[in-house]
Symmetry: C2
Subunit: 439 residues, 2 copies
């Protein structure tokens, strides 16, 4: 094992995301170290109460209630406390001490972002917040970097999983808002007090962050127009369906020109009718998606999990690696770390599912013969669909078409099966072999 | 206007992407300068033939046939020549001279990536290639940075627009492969010689790049298993449809364990059956999408335009801004440049379309009254759907439901219209006001 110098990482907060960050660091620490070119040493986890039940998974020697001392010894501070205070003061202390900061705190970025970014710039530190919007979906970095040479015209975002789950249930199951909310609560998609979600305070914070980033300006949270979903009725959802629409809670950030010809930006959140043909209409359950319309790039969409402990931890750890690479090389880091020693396996080693279409003589026992042949080659049959054609004019029986769907099998086994099929009498031809992916 | 020091940018190649890079730099140069903190001065465009017709849009004084001299004076070199030579030699020269390089050259990255990355690392320069895979879609940066703390399990990519267009036509229009290819050629989605696309050489290069990046290893192009779409028949497409699938050409990069228990990676390209419920099944026409399955993040999808001059230019310019920011601050750059002076406009300034549902007394002339009211408030009606209920038991006529769809109108005009509607006799109630977005 290669020895690296260690970067000292302090974690503030040990909720569901924090616990996953610790778990992933323990599981993949060596791999991350090789990607960064330095070890990532978790030097401590600051919590309010060391004996709280949710800290049980974290090694006890890492726990401390003294966040301020922990910060002083850290190269990188991860803030997962949430809310405004003490998160704001602790992040300011971390930046002041020269540490880079990674946060998932949307409320804080939406309300105190400019102050925090100014401090980071002043001291030459970086503040990363990919996890603050749309959980695991990379959207901050694409907007900040990938689209930095483009001109974003509009963003339509489904950025709150709870309300998307509720509206999706109303649409697909015909539930009332109350019933859909009850289901969401039961399944853990809604909190005991769902106000922040259903009244769209959460989505409004994300709209403020996205608009600020997309338009290179500061959009204060107070200027985001906000309507929640509480007034949406089953009748509206049904009427929308009949008219070819689905109702989605959208965070909208847009360049607009007002009646006096003044160019400006608008950030707003409300339930809206979205045409069923629009890519956002296909975003179901608690998933999030951000649809971006840019002058040169055209339409882009970023889709994935918008919340969840382990999903959000992915975004936090991505930021942690970015921050760590910056410490190591003083730049964006080694772009192409080829430090994995995974061999490249040939196609024969790959397993997938197959649909094989055969033209066979429609005789008694043909299916048994063919099934035995698959079995002999270690390929398990999942489905068989047989279609018999009309006999020809001279009375010759028509061949039957068999479509055989397999369970997972290796390419090697499948190839051997197909070769064997081609050589038996009852099979007139193998007309199609296709792999099934994405199931 | 603020004066910045200039970074010298050299462009190699002036095809459809290059011409758009020049146009965008001319159009948005000041805006990009404010995002970077330095001017981006295009010092020259190297072409093979100064009098070629496609260079006509580029200012003549920028054109040169001497790429080597142009490179020597540049801070950042953009390579859009394509192919292996002279692109490879010129990029090596640029890196050796200390310039950062931006390229859209998938063939070169797939075949000579390791050599180029090694040179960049040796001299401390950066090599950016977001435009090499999936055109305008940010996928390189998300894989390299956002998912750097995660463990990618599998990538399923629709990364070739030509073949997706052809397969989509076969699926939606029932066309044969030949006819769909002819349509693609006619509409400019396929080149005169479509071999690189339909035989999946193009997709295989992208698979090699994505697999190398996702698995932190080097996957040579020769190790990518490749099948094109030329054997796909209308009958197969139809059979797939009946079975609930759609055929897509997929670039698949996967962590696999072979029969001997050896962990490795597989990169392969072939037409596969994709369940119609999978997000990739909804990727139509020449669009691209990359579906990523990661251990912590779960399923992510990145969707957008995979080709096109202006779309690909967006990715090139994003890389250019990243490279330029690095020159200015020696790091990933100022994350939050709030240098735009766009005002934040109130919701009243926003225009959108609306669906307004009214319960009205079903009397002669009610529609005329309501239409006049909309018109008086400057709101143009696009559609009216009227539903009349059954009369009640005592013979009272039932109220009618009117759903009025409007053209674009301002929130202010709409609000005034709704207030006025509520105050007239024939309107019993305004039961729903919803905005239409994403159309």
């Amino acid at each position: 094992m290669i020895e690296y110098r260690n970067l000292r990482v302090a974690l503030l907060g040990a909720g569901s995301v924090g616990a996953q960050v610790v778990a992933q660091l323990q599981k993949h620490g060596d791999e991350l170290a090789s990607r960064v070119g330095a070890g990532l040493e978790l030097v401590g986890v600051a919590v309010r109460d060391i004996d709280a039940p949710r800290t049980a998974e974290i090694p006890r020697e890492l726990l401390t209630t003294d966040a301020e001392s922990l910060i002083l010894g850290a190269d990188i501070v991860i803030e997962l406390i949430g809310g405004i205070e003490p998160a704001r003061t602790l992040i300011m202390q971390a930046l002041t001490s020269g540490a880079d900061v990674v946060t998932a705190n949307k409320a804080l970025i939406a309300t105190h972002g400019p102050e925090l970014f100014a401090m980071a710039e002043q001291v030459g530190a970086q503040l990363y917040y990919e996890a603050a919007v749309a959980g695991a979906i990379p959207i901050i970095r694409p907007l900040r970097d990938s689209l930095a040479g483009d001109h974003v015209q509009r963003i339509l975002g489904i950025v709150n999983g709870t309300t998307n789950f509720i509206l999706d249930r109303m649409d697909t199951e015909g539930q009332s808002l109350e019933d859909a909310l009850a289901t969401a609560t039961e399944l853990g998609y809604a909190e005991a007090d769902p106000t922040a979600d259903i009244e769209a305070y959460d989505a409004a914070q994300k709209a403020a962050i996205l608009a600020s980033l997309a338009f290179h300006t500061t959009v204060p949270i107070e200027s985001v127009y906000r309507e929640g979903i509480t007034a949406i009725t089953a009748a509206q959802v049904e009427a929308a369906r009949s008219a070819g629409y689905v109702i989605k809670l959208l965070a909208i950030c847009e360049r607009v020109t007002d009646a006096e010809g003044i160019d400006g930006v608008s950030a707003r959140v409300y339930p809206a009718l979205v045409p069923r043909t629009h890519p956002l209409a296909a975003v179901h359950g608690a998933k999030n998606a951000v649809f971006v319309e840019a002058e040169a790039a055209g339409d882009l969409m970023f889709y994935g999990a918008g919340a969840g402990g382990i999903e959000t931890a992915s975004a936090v750890l991505g930021d942690l690696v970015s921050a760590a690479r910056r410490h190591v090389v003083g730049g964006p880091g080694v772009a192409e770390s080829t430090n994995s020693d995974l061999p490249i396996l040939p196609i024969g080693s790959v397993t997938t599912r197959y649909h094989i279409t055969l033209l066979v003589n429609d005789r008694t026992g043909v299916l048994a013969t063919i099934a035995a042949l698959f079995s002999d080659h270690g390929v398990s049959v999942e489905t068989v669909v047989q279609t018999v054609g009309a006999p020809s004019d001279d009375g010759t029986p028509a061949p039957a078409t068999l479509v055989i769907g397999t369970h997972e099998a290796s390419e090697a086994a499948l190839a051997a099966t197909v070769t064997a099929l081609s050589s038996i009498d009852t099979v007139r031809s193998v007309t199609s072999v296709l792999r099934v992916e994405g199931s």
